[in-house]
């Protein structure tokens, strides 16, 4: 069959484009993924979807599971991984701006959290995502953390005084808050903070709703305990990359991808929250909410002044809270964040 030269050339280029349309050039990089269940867990499953998306942005990610967040962060720091996925609390050492998203009492709802993440995921905020050689490449919702108490009467800040509260030693913010309210901090790890509640070693623990069922917290809540219906912190999972190791623009595309996953992530979180029986929720009286909010606000200010929380993030979150509810006292306070 005779083909004119230019037709043959065009046909060849068209065929080549068809073959390569779905294939991309990709540089191989390694990502450490923290998940309590390792490669069998839900965060790792999420990372597999992220890996697929990253391929389209020019990176082939090799995933390595870690059941210890501390080891994942250390391996990342040591250069054994080019990227890492871990909690926002752990991310604080690399970027205090996004690491302060988990500030105590700062985000009362998922709508607030989405607004903040949308704001910081925009291209305008890109330079805030970079600190030294590290770049935050995505923020995912991890669920609101609620306080689980073994006595329903603990529904005011004052009643926390003298109670034994489980805290993560690795988070100075928790030590600060617990000490401020006059409670007794009991150092724990993620691995044992729930079993200590169930066996009565602590009176208060906290975590996202998923732990209610997964860690059988209903046992520790018997006979008279409850779950305080007030988000203590908004937990996040964050992806941190070594900026120079990734193609230009990777971080921005990645942040936009993470934002796109926000709603489905919150849907799953709310499903776990619905598993907590209604009778166990402890509604905080409106008048007491003000007390809680003020204690949290003062804690955040102290932690900001100690250099633990980032002032810019606290200001951003305050501006958002006041935009959604301008009548709050903090909006006109002289020491507002």
């Amino acid at each position: 069959m005779y083909l004119a030269p230019n037709v043959g050339h065009r046909l060849f280029v068209t065929l080549l484009l068809m073959i390569t349309a779905n294939t991309v050039l990709a540089v191989p990089k390694k990502m450490c993924v923290f998940d309590l269940l390792g490669a069998n867990g839900p965060t790792y499953a999420q990372a597999k979807d992220y890996k697929t998306a990253a391929l389209a942005w020019g990176v082939e990610l090799g995933l390595k599971p870690y059941t210890s967040e501390r080891v994942a962060a250390e391996d990342f720091k040591a250069g054994l991984c080019d990227a890492v996925m871990f909690t926002g609390i752990r991310a604080r050492q690399f970027n205090s701006f996004t690491g302060s998203l988990d500030a105590i009492g700062a985000m009362p709802s998922y709508q607030h959290l989405k607004s903040v993440i949308s704001t910081i995921s925009a291209a305008k905020a890109a330079k805030l995502m970079v600190n030294e050689s590290y770049e935050v490449a995505g923020v995912f919702p991890g669920g609101a953390a609620f306080m689980f108490v073994n006595d329903r009467n603990i529904d005011t800040v004052g009643e926390l005084a003298g109670k034994r509260i489980a805290i993560l030693d690795s988070d100075p913010a928790q030590v600060e808050m617990v000490t401020f309210v006059g409670a007794s901090p009991v150092g724990t790890s993620i691995a044992n903070m729930f079993s200590k509640f169930n066996n009565g070693s602590v009176d208060v623990t906290y975590g996202p709703a998923i732990v209610y069922e997964a860690m059988e917290l209903y046992k520790g809540l018997e006979p008279n305990g409850g779950v305080i219906q007030f988000p203590l912190v908004q937990l996040t999972m964050q992806i941190m990359i070594r900026q120079a190791e990734f193609p230009e623009g990777f971080g921005q595309k990645s942040r936009e991808f993470a934002l796109g996953q926000f709603d489905s992530g919150v849907d799953l979180i709310k499903r776990y929250e619905k598993k907590i029986p209604q009778k166990l929720w402890i509604a905080i009286p409106e008048v007491e909410k003000t007390g809680y909010l003020e204690v949290f606000r003062q804690s955040r200010i102290r932690l900001r002044d100690k250099g633990i929380y980032n002032a810019k993030m606290l200001k951003l979150m305050r501006m958002l809270r006041c935009k959604k509810d301008p009548q709050q006292a903090e909006c006109t306070s002289t020491d507002k964040e």
């Binding site: 779905n22 294939t23 991309v24 050039l25 990709a26 309590l36 269940l37 390792g38 490669a39 069998n40 867990g41 839900p42 499953a45 597999k48 979807d49 890996k51 697929t52 998306a53 391929l55 389209a56 082939e60 390595k64 599971p65 870690y66 059941t67 691995a191 044992n192 729930f194 079993s195 200590k196 998923i210 069922e213 997964a214 860690m215 059988e216 799953l268 499903r271 776990y272 598993k275």
Partner: protein, 346 residues
């Protein structure tokens, strides 16, 4: 009345009575048969058919059988049977069938990543999650049937398990629960499997004799302790318990505990341990015969370990385990072969 017509009437009356009696007896017999058919059928399958199938090696056929019959099993309740134990097994098998399909999609995902084909990779992940969701739903049904069959199960106490069958279905029920949780977590939680099943299963495994059940009870407990370290007893090293459990099974020609161990090491990211388990599996087949009464279960273990090997090969090379290479890996040191330098001959 004439004597002949009286005799005829008497005969007619006797025949009617006989027919009525026959009808009553027949109805009673039918009712008895229907009422007890369910029990007889369940008893036959539990006591005869299942042990028979456990001696066979065609897992693919077993998979199809389970997918065909699982919907029918609960209907036996309508003829006075208690099919919950059978349902535990059939739900587990049909869930495993969905898992096999999910693994194939995982391999397609890995191939697509290897070939840098993002659309194919995304499509494979979508389908993989659908199959895992299906597996989770089926295995959750199996676990719920387990709870119906063993009403005393709360995860805290052990019931009296007074026969081999009772123990066997208890073990399968625990595996239903564990697999339901894992598959649901891997597929995004749509099946809504209660997450407290894991800890209950860990406690339920204590109710079985470890030696008798090929190391599986200890393997299950070790798996729970590794995932929930705060629940592990003081002084216990769960990885050592896991190793010991695997050896207990191997000595008896049963390798199913190796699958639990391999999945735990995959979760920990310890690829070398996973490779060693696969190598041991192949090696022991050369000198330890499979237990003849449980060939099916050992074959299930082989298929699951082959799936794990395929995953590792595809991740590294883009293709699954080559024929005859089960137990070998792409990065194994090559055996050196003596050669002659041809320079003196050329």
């Amino acid at each position: 009345m004439k004597p002949n017509s009286r005799k005829t009437k008497k005969k007619f009356f006797h025949w009617i009575v006989l027919l009525l009696l026959a009808f009553i007896l027949f109805s009673a017999a039918t009712l008895f048969a229907v009422k007890n058919a369910g029990k007889l059928l369940v008893s036959f399958v539990e006591d005869q058919a299942v042990p028979y199938v456990l001696k066979t090696d065609d897992v693919a056929m077993g998979c199809m059988m389970a997918e065909s019959l699982t919907l029918l099993i609960p209907s036996l309740v309508q003829i006075n049977a208690s099919p919950y134990k059978l349902a535990i097994l059939f739900d587990f098998l049909s869930g495993s069938c969905a898992e096999f399909k999910a693994w194939e999609e995982e391999l397609r995902y890995l191939r697509a990543i290897h070939n840098k084909n993002t659309v194919e990779a995304q499509d494979a992940r979508i389908l993989q999650k659908r199959y895992l969701n299906r597996a989770a739903r089926r295995q959750l049904k199996g676990y719920l049937n387990f709870q119906k069959a063993y009403l005393e199960f709360s995860g805290d106490n052990c019931p009296v398990l007074d026969s081999w069958n009772e123990e066997f279905y208890w073990m399968i029920g625990l595996m239903d629960g564990l697999q339901a949780v894992m598959n649901d977590l891997a597929s995004g939680g749509e099946a809504n499997v209660p997450l407290d099943i894991s800890l209950k299963v860990g406690r339920g495994a204590r109710c079985l004799n470890n030696e008798k059940w090929w190391g599986m009870p200890d393997a299950i407990q070790a798996a729970i302790w590794i995932n929930f370290p705060s629940y592990q007893p003081d002084g216990i090293n769960p990885l050592q318990v896991l190793d010991s459990a695997v050896n207990t099974g191997l000595k008896q020609g049963m390798r199913i505990a190796q699958v639990v161990a391999a999945k735990i090491h995959i979760g920990r990211g310890d690829a070398e341990s996973v490779k060693q388990i696969i190598r041991d599996n192949i090696q022991t087949r050369l000198n330890i015969a499979t237990h003849p009464d449980f060939i099916f279960l050992d074959e299930v273990a082989s298929i699951q370990l082959q799936a794990i090997s395929d995953h590792m090969w595809t991740d590294a090379t883009g293709k699954r385990t080559p024929i005859g290479a089960m137990g070998a890996f792409w990065d194994d040191p090559k055996n050196t072969v003596d050669t002659i330098d041809l320079i003196d001959i050329l």
